[in-house]
């Protein structure tokens, strides 16, 4: 292993199909038209000195170090800004060039600290490298005025800004603009006074900086430097792995010193992120070694008892005997398991295999139940496959982008940067969201053409109105519909959607969106060359979540926006492995590959392969498990990587169900909220401690690689395997690659996937049907994946949610997440990301606040039909009157105390996005919060007692 630095070609690659041939230092080189001379030279191993150029941003031509000579030409042009041309003869080294470069370097160094030996960038400093490259031996200048006393900015928890080391190359400024799209940095002043300035000359933490790390990555000196490198020194080896946060699934180089992660650097060749990152993936990895990690197995008889640390053997034996005891007492179907999108594909696969083959039932579910299960259902019905249709890069060919119920800049920030780049190039934007997300008008140089600020719960009325305009104004793509879709279903749908009650005018009273805006947005979407839909949980987490997904699919098919680059239906998955965990058969009614458990051919295939009698009946979904627990027919649960006691709706109901169970086994890295109700704790491994794969929102299967030993001793798949073996269902995998081989052998869409191929290609997008396939970036190009190959239109009548506002509950609460925190916060709350968001707040419109006499920072009680909690307010006109909004990253916030048990009709995905509430000023926490704090403190004491006795 080595640090294996990624080659920097100096300027971005060009994709022109036309190529030109030239000569550089006597060597012939052919490059795509538009390529810089610098990059062409680098491609044949000729390194031209450079400082202000790097291949993640466009060339700037300011440092004058990369000058070259052109035979027959005049002067010395900068090779970074000079494009290749047919027949050019370039000279990169001559005495004249050497003198210029040495002179440039001499000037730079005359105003730079000469502390190389003690500098944090020592060993990774381009300025130092260039001084060596140009042969700088002396600095003749003795300037009377320098920047050496410039004050450091240490405000950011993850990196420092030392302007005394800045060479004002603007790489950070350009990275912030081009790569991230935040435009938080600028060069302030002129001449000698020029300096990098965050926002209005503010400290980084006070500026608009979102801490994505692009500037740190771009900096050629120690000016912008990770504090972890300052503290520990340069890493000595690097391993490529995949981020464990959101569904973008960024590829990272884990840069290591032994088993210590020094920094996570976005991998340039990562096909999901192309070398970009966000504050979570780039910096918030410290939770993996947080003091709260539990590394020894523990058991206890009751949740009132102290934990007892035991050996792995005792813990596994105890867990197995309890599960067997419960099955003997209550029946085979009285136990089950829950997997998580935080688990690898291989972990999820063997978990569901254990439950189906070892437990003998189909009581397996996953956290996608509470996020994207409607996507799985809706897209399977209409397109024939439970997945998004595009790769992320497809957005760069979209002319109109329709974002529905998603907040990409917070939830999927790296993809949002790509989307913003396309929007800055001129693509049009329609946002359908009850709240003014940043894309609407708070992102520099991006502004939505239409913000359809609909009322929560009225999605289906809106999508129907958009489709009504398409049909009645004859904006259909009839050729596409006739050639690619089930025409009889289309005819029926066309008649249905043309009915007057779906018109924008008729639905205006439901959605609150002016009919003229809906008509104009529909025309914009339908008449674009390429129109693409991106959506999130604002679509799925409704009582009509599946109907809305179907409505989106109908609209895309009707306008022919499927089956090519630049279009499509793109669910933005919340967690890193939502797609993968669903692919792996973690729903109670489906085997891996979304095949129903009652399908006789599939059933036989798995019975034969797994050598076990399998049930052909659907098992319990997560909310059904809770109901069954209270009914005493579901008494044992094996829960891996999921925190149902915080993340699921109507949390008091969930807690009652967990208390009713006789054995709850939690496998996790922390004593999470669910573990406080557990009887067995199996210490799991973080993503840094195991091998496997994650599948992101674009169906990209990427490698997860072990960079440090599991703190608890075992990788999660090994723990599940141990439990399975003790339960009497043998598993003997030696490595997760063997699990993937089994998945490939049993799942047609994965048939051509193997670790060997993933290692070779970096990642693979399924479907990948055979050994020769390199995957499928765009789906449904020729036919849909339904049995007859045709897309199916379905009828989507708007049905109002039963969660209505009343005089008692006059406001609608909707929820979302924030950039710096991640879901239930178990990871990010244990990092310095709390510097940005240390508590959940309730956003309320100024009118509603005034009616209640509230100001920002006041404590308010939020009461719903399900319960009450207390938060502080943030008065904001980003929400509309009548709507309040909060995040759900802190357990004590109790956001799910107030959410109800309403759910999607097809999948039981909870209706998190619509809760009728009342808000009023209070002076003390809610009863639930008091009880929670007392219970939680008691559980932590019981944990402490266990550790002391261990």
């Amino acid at each position: 292993m080595s640090i294996n630095k990624e080659q920097d070609f100096g300027t971005p690659a060009k994709t022109a199909t036309e190529s030109v041939t030239l000569e550089i230092d006597g060597f012939q080189v052919t490059a795509p038209a538009g390529t810089s001379v610098m990059r062409a030279a680098a491609s044949i191993g000729i390194e031209i000195p450079k400082l202000c150029a790097t291949d993640s941003i466009e060339p700037f031509g300011s440092c004058r170090l990369c000058v070259v000579e052109i035979q027959g030409g005049r002067g010395m042009p900068a090779s970074c800004t000079t494009p290749v041309a047919e027949g050019l003869k370039i000279i990169t080294q001559s005495k004249r060039l050497a003198d210029v470069r040495r002179g440039v370097m001499e000037l730079y160094i005359s105003d730079h600290p000469l502390d190389c030996l003690t500098c944090s960038a020592n060993g990774d400093c381009e300025l130092q490298d260039m001084a060596g490259a140009v042969g700088l031996r002396e600095v003749r200048y003795n300037p009377v005025k320098t920047h050496l006393d410039a004050i450091k900015d240490e405000s950011n928890p993850y990196f420092s800004f030392d302007p005394s080391k800045c060479i004002v190359c603007s790489r950070c400024v350009r990275a912030c603009e081009e790569t991230q799209g935040t435009f938080a940095l600028t060069i302030d002043g002129r001449g000698f006074d020029s300096k990098v300035a965050p926002s209005q000359n503010q400290a980084f933490m006070d500026s608009e900086c979102v801490s994505c790390g692009a500037c740190v990555q771009a900096c050629p000196t120690a000016t912008l430097m990770e504090k972890s490198v300052i503290d520990h020194g340069q890493p000595e080896h690097a391993i490529i792995t995949t981020c464990a946060y959101c569904g973008v699934g960024c590829s990272f180089r884990a840069e290591m010193k032994g088993e210590q992660v020094i920094r996570m650097v976005p991998h340039k060749d990562g096909k999901a992120n192309h070398g970009h990152s966000c504050v979570k993936g780039r910096f918030a990895f410290g939770y993996a070694t947080h003091k709260d990690r539990i590394t020894k197995p523990m058991i206890r008889a009751s949740i009132k008892d102290a934990w007892r640390e035991v050996s792995w053997e005792e813990a596994i034996n105890h867990a197995a005997s309890e599960l067997k005891r419960i099955q003997q007492k209550y029946g085979k179907d009285s136990i089950g398991g829950i997997t998580s999108s935080r688990c690898t594909n291989e972990e999820v696969y063997i978990m569901q295999k254990l439950i189906r083959a070892g437990f003998g039932n189909n009581n397996v579910d996953t956290c996608a139940r509470v996020c994207h299960s409607p996507t799985g259902y809706g897209l399977k019905q209409t397109f024939g496959e439970s997945s998004g249709t595009q790769d992320f890069d497809s957005v760069m060919k979209a002319d109109v982008i329709l974002v529905i119920g998603a907040n990409p800049t917070d939830g999927h920030p790296v993809f949002a940067s790509l989307m913003k780049k396309r929007l800055r190039q001129g693509a049009k934007l329609i946002v359908a969201d009850p709240r003014e997300i940043d894309l609407v008008k708070n992102s520099p140089h991006v502004e939505a053409n239409f913000h359809l600020k609909l009322r929560p719960g009225s999605n289906v009325a809106l999508i129907n109105a958009l489709a009504h305009v398409v049909v009645t104004e004859k904006l259909l793509d009839e050729d596409f519909v006739n050639a690619r879709c089930d025409v009889s279903s289309f005819t029926k749908w066309e008649t249905f959607i043309a009915q007057e009650h779906h018109s924008p005018e008729a639905t205006e009273s439901i959605t609150g969106v002016p009919a003229t805006d809906v008509r104009a947005a529909a025309r914009l979407y339908a008449t674009a060359n390429n129109a693409a839909i991106y959506y999130g949980l604002g679509v799925t987490e409704h009582s009509q979540g599946s109907t809305m997904v179907i409505g989106i699919a109908n609209l895309a098919m009707a306008t022919g926006n499927l089956g090519r680059v630049g279009v499509g239906v793109n669910p933005l998955r919340g967690q890193n492995n939502v797609q993968g965990s669903c692919d792996m058969g973690s729903f109670p009614h489906e085997f891996p590959g979304y095949r129903h458990v009652s399908d006789s051919k599939t059933h036989q295939l798995f019975e034969s392969a797994w050598q076990a009698k399998l049930s052909s009946e659907p098992g319990l979904r997560i909310p059904n498990m809770f109901e069954a627990a209270l009914d005493k027919s579901f008494m044992g649960l094996y829960c891996e990587g999921e925190d149902i006691a915080q993340s699921d709706p109507d949390i008091q109901h969930v807690h009652s169900a967990l208390r009713a169970m006789e054995c709850v086994i939690v496998q996790d890295i922390f004593l999470n909220e669910t573990a406080k109700f557990a009887h067995v704790f199996l210490p799991g491994a973080s993503f840094l401690e195991k091998n496997g794969t994650f599948t992101n929102a674009e169906r990209r299967i990427s490698p997860v690689r072990k960079v440090m030993s599991p703190l608890g001793g075992y990788q999660d798949w090994e723990i599940t395997q141990m439990l399975s073996n003790v339960l009497g269902y043998p598993m003997n995998y030696k490595h997760p690659s063997e699990i993937m081989d089994e998945i490939a052998s049993l799942t047609p869409t994965f048939a051509g996937v193997s670790y060997e191929k993933i290692d070779k290609l970096g990642s693979i997008q399924w479907p990948c049907y055979d050994e020769d396939s390199v995957g499928t970036p765009i789906m449904h190009e020729q036919t849909f994946m339904r049995d007859n190959g045709k897309g199916l239109f379905m009828l989507t009548e708007y049905v109002a949610t039963q969660e209505r506002t009343t005089r008692k509950f006059p406001l609608i609460l909707t929820t979302g997440r924030i950039l710096s925190q991640y879901n239930v916060g178990a990871q990010t709350r244990r990092t310095d990301n709390v510097a940005w968001h240390a508590e959940d707040r309730l956003e309320i419109h100024p009118h509603d606040a005034e009616d209640r006499g509230l100001k920002t920072g006041d404590w308010v009680g939020i009461t719903s039909r399900a319960g009450e909690t207390v938060l502080r307010t943030l008065i904001s006109d980003r929400v509309q009157p009548g709507v309040v909004y909060t995040t759900f990253h802190f357990p004590e916030s109790g956001a799910n105390v107030i959410t109800t048990d309403n759910s999607d009709w097809a999948t039981n995905c909870p209706e998190y996005k619509v809760t009728a509430v009342q808000v009023s000023k209070v002076s003390h926490p809610s009863e639930w919060q008091k009880e929670y704090l007392s219970f939680s403190e008691n559980q932590l004491e019981l944990l402490e007692q266990g550790i002391q006795n261990g």
């Binding site: 179907d333 009581n363 249905f496 009582s543 009509q544 599946s546 109907t547 109670p588 009614h589 129903h596 009652s598 009946e617 659907p618 098992g619 319990l620 979904r621 059904n624 109901e627 069954a628 209270l630 009914d631 027919s633 009828l795 989507t796 009548e797 049905v799 048990d901 759910s903 009709w905 097809a906 999948t907 039981n908």
Partner: protein, 72 residues
């Protein structure tokens, strides 16, 4: 299983398929959805409720539940 919960689930499924004007096809859609996604104990419970009372089920849900094949 709390029967009120199952009734609501069945009615919600019915609300989706109710867009279909042919109620035979609609009821078949509801039935198929329940068969493919409900655990047997849930199906048994809703069928028992239908036999004993059934008054809270919508017409479409009732029609579908009445034809459910009973799991063993």
């Amino acid at each position: 299983m709390k029967i009120e919960r199952l009734i609501k689930m069945a009615n919600d499924i019915g609300d989706f398929f109710n867009a279909e004007s042919n109620k035979e096809i609609a009821a078949e859609g509801v039935k198929k959805h329940i068969l493919r996604s409900w655990d047997p104990r849930m199906r048994r419970a809703i069928f028992s409720y239908y036999q004993e009372d059934g008054s809270q089920l919508s017409d479409l849900a009732k029609k579908a539940v009445s034809t459910l094949d009973q799991p063993e």
